[in-house]
């Protein structure tokens, strides 16, 4: 049992240390994708354990990603503060829809469709406010060039240069 914990701890430390010692962006990109799909899958499997199928996970992921990115782009808030704020925002959105769902006992196909419509709403709102949310707009704030991986920011080139 102790050996197993040691193995888990070693793996965790290795994963945390990896971006400091290994800088190949393609391989780090693959790892980032693995982690993103992993947490999407984890949230879905938790829903499945409760017997509810949801198609709205993309919407909540979108809220989390966009709140973080927009706080950084427009207000300059560091993602270390933006990530908890975006988690709260996605949670509030989920609560607004989920409470009536539990209240009116929406299950089965109806719950699937409510969450599908919710992710559609998120998608269309982001598209409709493209003047503020467009990632490639000229107002994008340029991240610091020498960003460390703990600053949670990427070194993006500003569109003008």
């Amino acid at each position: 049992m102790n050996l197993r914990y040691a193995a888990w701890a070693t793996g965790l430390v290795a994963l945390i240390a990896l971006p400091f010692v290994y800088r190949d962006s393609y391989h780090l990109h693959i790892l980032v994708l693995i982690l993103i799909w992993s947490f999407a899958y984890t949230s879905w499997s938790i829903m499945g354990r409760f017997g509810l199928v949801s198609l709205g996970h993309g919407g909540f992921m979108g809220v989390g990603a966009y709140v973080t990115a927009l706080l950084w782009n427009h207000l300059g808030v560091s993602p270390w503060i933006g990530i908890p704020i975006s988690m709260v925002a996605a949670g509030v959105l989920a609560l607004v829809v989920a409470y009536p769902c539990f209240r009116f006992r929406i299950t089965g196909h109806y719950f699937v469709l409510v969450t599908l419509a919710l992710s559609g709403i998120v998608l269309q709102v982001i598209t409709a406010t493209r003047d503020h949310t467009a990632a490639r707009s000229a107002t994008r704030r340029t991240a610091p060039r020498a960003a460390s991986c703990w600053r949670c920011s990427s070194t993006t080139r500003s569109p003008g240069t």
């Binding site: 009116f104 419509a117 919710l118 409709a128």
Partner: protein, 80 residues
């Protein structure tokens, strides 16, 4: 002239909304589905008339969610 395009992903623009309309009209209710399709298209188009088309979709989806809460068996369902 009215023109439509066809491409390999053309089905994706119909599938989810068709499913929403089916349930909005009541599963298995032909007339209800027809009426729901009319209502959905009107909401989207009127939203696009007064604002951007995307806000029409937002209105339609929000309408669908609210209708699921108050009339989950469809627009024409008999009250039980």
């Amino acid at each position: 002239m009215l023109q439509y395009d066809v491409h390999p992903f053309v089905g994706l623009s119909f599938g989810p909304i068709t499913f929403l309309i089916c349930v909005l009209g009541g599963l298995g209710n032909f007339v209800g589905g027809f009426f729901a399709a009319f209502v959905f298209a009107e909401i989207i188009s009127l939203g696009g008339l007064f604002s951007d088309l995307e806000w029409g979709y937002v209105l339609a989806f929000a309408f669908f969610i609210v209708m699921m809460f108050i009339r989950p068996a469809g627009l024409f369902a008999r009250r039980s």
